[in-house]
């Protein structure tokens, strides 16, 4: 089914991918205060990679991803689990949020925290899951 894409699709996928990925990171990071968060951001990123896959095929997309989508799920789960433990060091209940805010020059504040780590885990798990579906489907199609 993967016929060579049209010129428009090629060009669009090439330009849209970085934009969409930056947008997904933006959604991920602002999620705690504004609409967004790991789940939504993950879906956006997965959409971006899927578009790329439609244009250039699964092989190229795999190379672009660098790591196997299934590995990505694993890393996401690791992030999720890892965020549960800092609380134990302080003798608090499992998964209690820990905050390490860092003041940045210019009045801004970087809110480092375990919820952020957790959200990154969700993000990776979602991207990995959707890409596992899409790549596996596309490859069984190409085979």
């Amino acid at each position: 089914m993967m016929k060579p894409g049209t010129l428009i699709l090629y060009a669009a996928a090439r330009f849209l991918l970085p934009l969409q990925l930056i947008f997904s990171l933006f959604l991920l990071l602002r999620g705690h205060d504004e609409p967004g968060g790991g789940f939504i951001a993950g879906l956006v990123a997965a959409g971006a990679f899927s578009l790329y896959l439609f244009a250039f095929g699964s092989e190229v997309t795999r190379d672009l991803l660098r790591i196997d989508p299934r590995t990505m799920i694993g890393i996401g789960l690791l992030f999720g689990v890892a965020s549960a433990f800092p609380a134990l060091i302080h003798g608090q209940a499992f998964l209690t949020a820990q905050w390490w805010p860092i003041a940045l020059p210019g009045g801004a504040e970087l809110k480092l925290s375990t919820p952020l780590i957790f959200d990154i885990g969700v993000y990776l798990a979602v991207v990995g899951t959707v890409m596992t579906f899409v790549v596996a489907l596309a490859e069984s199609e190409e085979a």
Binding site: F39, I40, G74, A97, V134
Partner: protein, 804 residues
């Protein structure tokens, strides 16, 4: 004591590592652990003899008030010593008996785990921990019976043992919950002080029956006795350890443990002697008609377990004393005899007694151990078995309920027991030498250490019964009775009724032994009746279980998506609808302000849904489903839930992408259901829709509990430093849920991956219809498969939505 239990599990975990280091000596190294545990337990003897109870508490989950308390009293100590001493010898024995076996390391791992579980069982104070260890012994027993897993009969026997003991375990759990409800505590120490309350407890009888269900299955009481002889499929070290000396006594242990709290009632004094005496006789009778040496011993173990139950049921001071003495005596001689049986099997290559004979010159040391242990089994002086048997007769004579019945059966069992002892000990070693499959040779020392030591202890305790009494028997029987018992054990009681019974049983047993072959031929007449015994019932039950599973799978889980949906939805409508109407009646609250743009959105939703099931083109259906999705997203956004709206839109988009990937593989978009089916489906759908509407009406009207959303909104900023409540809930307030959900997501991904990558014709269970549904084989068979694929591919999507 916690360490004593956990050290076994710990050592089991490291055994594979030690295996590479010590190779053939591994068994000896591992035996050091039970040996040192035995020494530690022996060091507690003076304390326990003085009537103290050792209690050690370790906090486990302090937040829930759960602690890991272990107690050591006379009964626990007797068991702990038996477990660790016999465990030591069994490990030594196995190193030689299973020498060079490819799975020897695995054997050690399971055996050590069993030992630790059994110690945990007899030391636990909490009913819950006791139950956990109880089940662990069932599981390890399963693994050990099925150790030769390539042998179908071993697997079958293992499964039978597991199903019966675990089935009983379920009853036990119910009984324990009732017990804890009645006594108001899960701690055995407290339960034992609540005897008065428990005996008056209205649910006393159901509770007792449940507990007995657990104890009788574990301790192989009639009619559950048949799994034990079948368990002889296990390697002999296992039979001598689990299925004679320790695990099968767990049921008896539990009854003894609870005796001070539950014993003495009419039900107790009727049921226990009834089943105990029956088991005793059935065991003895079945033993004498077997020819395999291990079967003989197994049935005589059944007999011993029946004796122990009978004695507990009688419940007098004498009976308690006899219980502890018989328990000790039996573990010693039966452990030794099983090891002898293994040595015979190992060196002659046969398990059949009639094929062995005249081995006294070839295996003299084995013979000594066998004869001493056999005399104890027969209950002859000056062995400890004699002391125990005299006490048993004395206790039965002193019983009150069912006295004639129990005395007759006890006498018959004792007589047949003597014949069993003769068959097991005299036949293989005396008479003319017979040719056996292997050339017999003397066993090596690791296989002899156990039987010799245990036989020697039988002799020592027999000669010095006072020592055995004060060290082990009296503390144990005091714990079972619940009050201090002081009584000197002695070998010679003078000429009295028990002695006369002993002599009479010796004569009868001797006659049966002399005419064993003729006797067996006579008893063979009863074979058709025995074939219809409890074991046949077990197989009937298993067949029934399979039949029910088959029937309900065909009916409920037949692989048809429509069927699943119908069942799920109708169940939902039935249960929820019933509760809704029964509790809240119907609510018709039309007092809702509806804006025009809301009406338009809903109209769009309804129109698009209608198109989905009227359209004749797939693309049309897909596009209409898309409209439904976007309309829902619009509603989310209208009611200020932007996160949900965005998620919904993204999920819709990804659904389209996935659909494009499988579009060309989908079968033609035909209409396969009959009009009747469609009407039925429409009715189900309509019922569900109506119920959902009613539900929403009620939730708007009825406020059962104060909404927690206001709390979350208030706390979002101060506690979680975030303004987006949805995200704060997802990653902070309820992050454990989200953590679970991303794991579900990962599993869904792996499931889809497996379905796509495993080719239906080569995958395990290849003939299963579901395997061919999602992606048919490369040959173009796609058009034939039913149109369930949309639903199957959409499933992962649902998984994602639930995570949002």
């Amino acid at each position: 004591m916690q360490f004593a239990v956990f050290s076994g599990f710990l050592l089991a975990a490291f055994t594979p590592l030690l295996s590479a280091r010590f190779r053939d000596r591994l068994g000896w190294v591992l035996a050091l652990l039970p040996a040192s545990l035995a020494v530690w337990f022996a060091m507690q003897l003076p304390l326990i003899m003085s009537g103290e109870v050792l209690v050690q508490t370790m906090e486990w989950i302090p937040g829930l008030g759960i602690s890991l308390t272990m107690t050591l009293d006379g009964l626990s100590l007797l068991f702990a010593l038996l477990i660790s001493v016999i465990g030591t010898f069994v490990l030594l024995y196995a190193s030689s008996y299973l020498h060079g076996h490819q799975d020897l390391t695995r054997f050690y791992v399971v055996l050590l785990s069993f030992m630790a579980s059994m110690l945990g069982l007899v030391l636990s104070d909490s009913l819950i921990t006791l139950f956990v260890f109880w089940e662990l012994t069932s599981i390890t027993s399963y693994l050990l019976i099925g150790f030769n897993h390539q042998d179908a009969s071993a697997r079958k026997a293992a499964l039978q043992g597991l199903l019966i003991t675990v089935g009983g375990g379920l009853a036990l759990l119910a009984g324990m919950v009732l017990l804890a409800q009645g006594a108001g505590s899960y701690s055995l120490q407290e339960i034992l002080t609540q005897g008065e309350v428990l005996r008056e407890y209205p649910l006393y009888l159901p509770m007792l029956l449940c507990l007995l269900g657990g104890a009788f299955t574990k301790s192989a009481q009639f009619p559950f006795h048949f799994w034990l002889p079948n368990a002889m499929a296990a390697p002999t070290p296992v039979s001598s350890y689990l299925h004679s000396a320790t695990m099968v006594k767990a049921g008896v242990y539990l009854l003894a443990r609870l005796h001070p709290a539950l014993g003495g009632t009419e039900a107790w004094q009727f049921i226990l002697p009834l089943f105990g005496a029956t088991t005793m006789f059935v065991g003895a009778f079945m033993a004498i008609r077997s020819t395999g040496i291990k079967k003989l011993l197994a049935y005589s173990t059944v007999m011993a377990l029946g004796t122990l139950t009978l004695l507990l049921g009688i419940g007098t001071e004498k009976a308690m004393l006899a219980f502890a003495a018989f328990l000790l005596g039996h573990s010693l001689y039966k452990g030794a005899l099983f090891m002898v049986a293994g040595a015979l099997d190992h060196s002659t290559g046969t398990k059949e007694v009639p094929e062995m004979g005249g081995l006294r010159h070839l295996m003299p040391v084995t013979m000594v151990a066998a004869v001493v242990a056999g005399l104890s089994l027969a209950g002859l002086p000056p062995l400890f078995g004699f002391v125990a048997k005299e006490l048993m007769f004395e206790a039965v004579l002193g019983g009150s309920v069912l006295k004639a019945f129990t005395l007759t059966l006890a006498f018959a069992a004792a007589a047949l027991g003597i014949a069993v002892a003769g068959v097991v000990v005299l036949r293989p070693f005396f008479g003319a030498l017979k040719t056996t499959p292997k050339k017999p040779h003397e066993a090596d020392w690791p296989m002899l250490a156990g039987p010799l030591t245990l036989a020697f202890l039988s002799l020592l305790f027999g000669v010095m019964p006072g020592m055995a009494g004060s060290l082990l028997v009296l503390p144990a029987s005091s714990a079972v009775a619940g009050y201090e018992i002081s009584y000197g054990l002695s070998l010679w009681h003078g000429i009295n009724a028990p002695l006369l019974l002993s002599i009479a049983s010796l004569i009868v047993g001797g006659l049966v032994f002399r005419h064993w072959d003729a006797y067996r031929a006579k008893v063979a007449v009863l074979n058709p009746i025995i074939a219809r015994g409890p074991e046949a019932g077990y197989f009937k039950l298993m067949d029934g279980l399979v039949w029910i599973a088959d029937w309900q799978t065909r009916w409920l889980q037949n692989g048809s998506m429509r069927n699943y949906l119908t069942v799920i939805l109708l169940t939902f409508v039935g249960l929820t609808g019933y509760t809704l109407i029964w509790r809240y009646q119907l609510h018709w609250n039309w007092d809702i302000q509806v804006q025009l743009h809301e009406l338009v959105t809903v109209g769009l939703l309804v129109a698009a849904t209608t198109v989905v099931f009227l359209t004749r083109s797939r693309l049309g259906a897909v596009a209409s489903m898309g409209v439904v999705g976007f309309a829902v997203a619009l509603i989310f956004i209208l009611f200020s839930a932007p996160d949900l709206g965005i998620t919904q839109i993204l999920v819709e988009t990804l659904t389209v992408i996935l659909l494009v990937l499988v579009l060309f593989r989908l079968p033609s978009f035909g209409n396969l259901s009959t009009p009747t089916q469609r009407i039925r489906d429409a009715l189900v759908a309509a019922a569900t829709g109506v119920l959902m509407t009613l539900l929403i009406m009620v939730t708007i009207d009825v406020q059962l509990v104060p909404s927690i959303s206001s709390v979350m909104i208030e706390q979002s900023q101060p506690l979680a430093y975030g303004r987006n409540i949805v995200n704060v809930i997802l990653v902070d307030f309820r992050s454990l849920d989200t953590l679970g959900e991303i794991f579900v997501l990962a599993l869904a991904a792996l499931g889809v991956y497996a379905m796509l990558r495993l080719h239906p014709e080569t995958a395990p269970g290849a003939n299963h219809l579901a395997g061919s549904l999602i992606l048919p084989p490369l040959k173009k068979q796609a058009k034939k498969s039913p149109p369930k694929e949309c639903a199957s591919t959409a499933q992962p999507e649902q998984g994602k939505e639930s995570a949002s």
